[in-house]
Amino acid sequence: MEESTKYDTLKRIISIYLPEDVSVDAIGAQSHLINDLNINSAHLVDIVLDVEDEFDIMFENDDMERMQTVEDALKIIDIKRSKK
């Protein structure tokens, strides 16, 4: 999968769980999922579950803790996919 497609896919998943007062345009590579995008802990789990389905990978507890920003998520996706 190309970088841009991967990013767009992730962005689409994240956008589903954005609170009403945060626009899709606010999503950037550096965005902190909780602090910048106001995503709550329950929706963070939803994002991980959707990402797992979409990219056919499996997150562990460590990955969840490491996934702070959009960029972190992309990195984890890359590592997981390269190990397949």
């Binding site: 709550n40 802990s41 329950a42 929706h43 963070l44 789990v45 939803d46 991980v48 579950l49 997150f59 507890n61 969840m64």
Partner: protein
């Protein structure tokens, strides 16, 4: 984990405890029951002169039995550090209601785990009345984890 020990760990109390008894519990689901007190506080206003158990209370009953009790059981199966007090929060519920529950009725709740990952427990729940009629069903999710320094 004994069923009574699960009830002891519930963070609820009167007048907002909606679990009497657990019948069975395992990794995949739980079954329990509750009898609505005919004099419960909400009947005075729901509705005027025509007491019926509110849907939100039925949902709460499903959540306490179906999600929180199961969550306590699942957490207990993990590390010993997870066996202290817990903190919980409802994260989503989607319910459909079929028949009313009147004051004094006894209901049973059956819950099946959809997933428990990263502290989020999502279940499919069903409530039946004493006549085995389906009262309501739906899915409820909550966050459940050990209380820090608890």
């Amino acid at each position: 984990m004994p069923l009574n020990a699960i009830l002891d760990k519930l963070p609820y109390d009167e007048p907002f405890l909606f679990v009497d008894q657990l019948v069975s519990i395992d990794e995949n689901g739980v079954e329990g029951s509750y009898s609505f007190d005919p004099h419960a506080w909400f009947y005075k206003g729901h509705f005027k002169n025509r007491p019926i158990t509110p849907g939100v209370i039925l949902t709460e009953c499903c959540a306490q039995i179906g999600v929180v009790c199961l969550g306590v059981y699942l957490l207990n199966g993990k590390s010993p550090g997870d066996r202290g007090p817990i903190q919980i929060a409802l994260s989503s519920s989607e319910m459909e209601f079929y028949v009313p529950v009147y004051p004094g009725e006894r209901v049973s709740v059956k819950s099946r785990k959809l997933y428990f990952r990263f502290h989020k427990l999502k279940c499919e729940v069903k409530m039946y009345n004493a006549k085995e009629e389906l009262v309501c069903k739906g899915s409820i999710a909550g966050m459940i984890k050990p209380l820090p320094n608890g």
